[in-house]
């Protein structure tokens, strides 16, 4: 059953068609990748899914409900979380606070609870903090809960972003170039993390990546975009051999080199 289904989504900037008739689906429990040359429209497609852009045409169905017209916070409440291509943490909040912000929609407390420090409030806060710590460990960070987010090195920041996205308990996790700027070893760890998220938490993952080691290594399914359109889709093996993809994107070397 497909968790996310888009039909003929179009997003234009003036005369430029950044996403053109994207029809695309993600099955529950899968890790799916979107690849494509720079400027192909991948990030724009993500932004259209999450409500940051309003697509001009087409429909987006998530668990069979339309997402069209929803604000980003509403999309997030439906169960889609994301990370950003350029890291966007709340730099002067601590790591733990960043994760707690991610839990915003899950928390039930209201202003009155906060004012009167009701039992519900205290329990929920305590619970939330424990969960946040647990998440931190889950993504491989220890003892940095009280650091300011922006003080962490790049790789650490990427991890917080993922933890923050997980904090909302999403059904679908969108990752935009999560391993950019990581060295091969760190990338390896990230791949393991993504697998665990899917396997242990059952969260479906949709991924944009330029690192073929990641893409080919963990995706069940890959869609390739170019000039806003989907030019190919299939399993890693199929994509690797696809002539059009090789020309537009992979380049001869990459295609021939090993994983």
């Amino acid at each position: 059953m497909s968790l996310l289904q888009t039909n003929n989504v179009v997003k234009r900037f003036g005369g430029l068609v950044a996403v053109n008739k994207m029809t695309f689906s993600v099955d529950e429990g899968h890790i799916v990748s979107i690849i494509g040359p720079n400027g192909a429209g991948k990030t724009t497609f993500f932004n259209s899914l999450t409500g940051i852009y309003k697509p001009e045409e087409g429909e987006i169905l998530f668990k069979d409900h339309s997402l069209i017209g929803l604000r980003p916070d509403q999309v997030s409440a439906r169960g889609i979380s994301r990370t950003f291509q350029n890291i966007r943490l709340f730099g002067s909040m601590s790591v733990i606070e960043n994760i707690l912000v991610g839990m915003h929609i899950r928390l039930k407390q209201n202003a009155l609870d906060a004012l009167f420090r009701s039992k519900k409030f205290n329990e929920e806060e305590k619970d939330a903090e424990q969960k946040a710590s647990a998440l931190m460990e889950y993504v491989g960070l220890k003892n940095v809960g009280n650091e300011l987010a922006r003080n962490l090195p790049y790789g650490g920041q990427r991890r917080i972003e993922i933890a923050r996205a997980l904090a909302a308990n999403p059904t679908l996790l969108l990752l935009d170039e999560p391993t950019a700027g990581m060295n091969p070893n760190e990338t390896e760890d990230a791949i393991k993390l993504f697998r665990r998220i899917r396997d242990e938490k059952g969260i479906t993952i949709l991924l944009i990546e330029h690192d073929m080691r990641v893409v080919m290594g963990i995706s069940e399914y890959i869609s390739v975009m170019d000039y806003g359109e989907k030019i190919a889709e299939g399993t890693p093996q199929e994509i690797r051999k696809n002539q059009r993809v090789i020309e537009a994107y992979l380049g001869r070397d990459a295609a021939s080199s090993k994983d």
């Binding site: 932004n47 950003f84 291509q85």
Partner: protein, 377 residues
């Protein structure tokens, strides 16, 4: 065609003048038509006099008044917008830079009056000297203020330089008052009488009963501001300095990596903005005939509003915003009382201006000419 548009004379002189003309005439026309239309609609409801006739009677004067003050606002607004463009903060002390320029100019004329030169020298030379002095003093003051109060704060959170600017503004007001009080015993400075600036140029227009009257002052004021606007336009769009200013505005570290001396460019920006403010101060003094250390506040506020209305950071926007605000103010102050039969008067002009501002911002959240270019998600 392409060749023609890239001709610098066209690009940097004809085009901006044309643009200013279009803005000025366009805005005046729209507001005038709107007002007359309203007068026709309400005509029946008001007895005792003919509303349309009364509106038309002073319409030319109202337009001219609006444009005159509008140009002053525009010139001040440019100072706000330039500094905002480069440092992304509201330079609150700009209204005091403006005030200092005006006071210095008037004091120069008072000095000429004292020595008797005022009556013997050519009046335009005197004005030119006063404007020049105003520009030099205000420009250097702006640069100094930046050195002292803003430069040490680079990289601090956004509110920090804002507060420093407010502090500077307080300081300048009182410092000028102190200096004036100690030297002259009081702090009003009064424009001496000289020349023919108060006189009117009367132009009879066929078809209109009352001839149009242009005060020489107003013509001078408009002329000088247009000249400065054109000069600024050339500087910002036609020279390497202008390009550097825009680059510094957007990303300081990157600009320095391009080989641009960031500090110098920021100083130059303050120099230009300050000089424009100083010139506006002298021109404003010609109109107001009296200045004091607190006179900068309201024009400053209006000019800042104008900058926002036009799209802050956008030079053309500041020009347009200033003109619109000046006209709106003139129209509402002159007509509100007539239209509402005295229930609402000139005192509501600022509310009207503000309502328009909100309306514009709701429709165009970045101002009339501001572009919305954010970083992408």
């Amino acid at each position: 065609m392409k060749q023609f548009t890239s001709n610098p004379f066209y690009k940097f002189i004809l085009f901006p003048i044309g643009q200013i003309l279009v803005f000025a005439l366009g805005a005046s026309l729209v507001l005038s038509l709107f007002t007359v239309l309203l007068a026709y609609i309400f005509r029946a409801g008001i007895t005792g006099f003919d509303l349309v006739e009364r509106v038309l009677l002073i319409l030319p004067q109202v337009v001219i008044n609006g444009l005159t003050i509008g140009f002053v606002y525009s010139t001040i607004a440019l100072g706000y917008t330039m500094v905002y463009g480069v440092l992304e903060f509201i330079n609150f002390s700009h209204s005091e830079i403006f005030m200092v320029g005006g006071i210095v100019g008037v004091e120069l004329m008072a000095y000429f009056d004292h020595t008797g030169a005022l009556q013997t020298m050519n009046q335009y030379v005197i004005i030119a000297l006063a404007i020049l002095l105003g520009m030099v003093i205000s420009g250097s003051l702006a640069v100094t203020v930046e050195r002292v109060a803003y430069r040490p704060l680079r990289g601090a959170p956004r509110l920090v330089p804002l507060i420093s600017a407010i502090g500077m503004s307080f300081f300048l007001q009182d410092a000028v008052r102190l200096i004036l009080s100690l030297t002259t015993g009081e702090f009003n400075v009064i424009l001496p009488n000289f020349g023919t600036f108060d006189e009117f140029l009367v132009v009879a227009v066929p078809g209109i009963a009352t001839p149009l009257r242009f005060q020489i002052k107003s013509i001078l004021l408009v002329g000088v501001t247009v000249l400065m606007l054109v000069g600024l336009n050339y500087l910002v769009n036609g020279t390497k300095i202008g390009k550097a200013i825009r680059a510094v505005a957007q990303d300081r570290p990157s600009a320095s990596l391009m080989g641009i001396n960031v500090n110098m460019i920021i100083s130059i920006t303050f120099l230009i903005g300050g000089a424009l403010g100083g010139a506006a101060g002298v021109l404003f003094a010609l109109k107001a005939t009296k200045l004091d250390p607190f006179v900068g506040f309201f024009p400053g506020l209006k000019a800042f509003t104008a900058a926002v209305l036009g799209g802050i950071g956008n030079l053309t926007g500041a020009l347009l915003g200033g003109l619109i605000l000046g006209l709106l103010e003139s129209f509402s102050a002159s007509y509100l009382s007539t239209f509402t039969n005295g229930a609402f008067g000139a005192e509501y002009k600022d509310i009207l201006a503000f309502a328009i501002l909100i309306l514009v911002l709701i429709l165009r959240p970045s101002g009339l000419l501001g572009q919305t270019v954010g970083q992408k998600a």
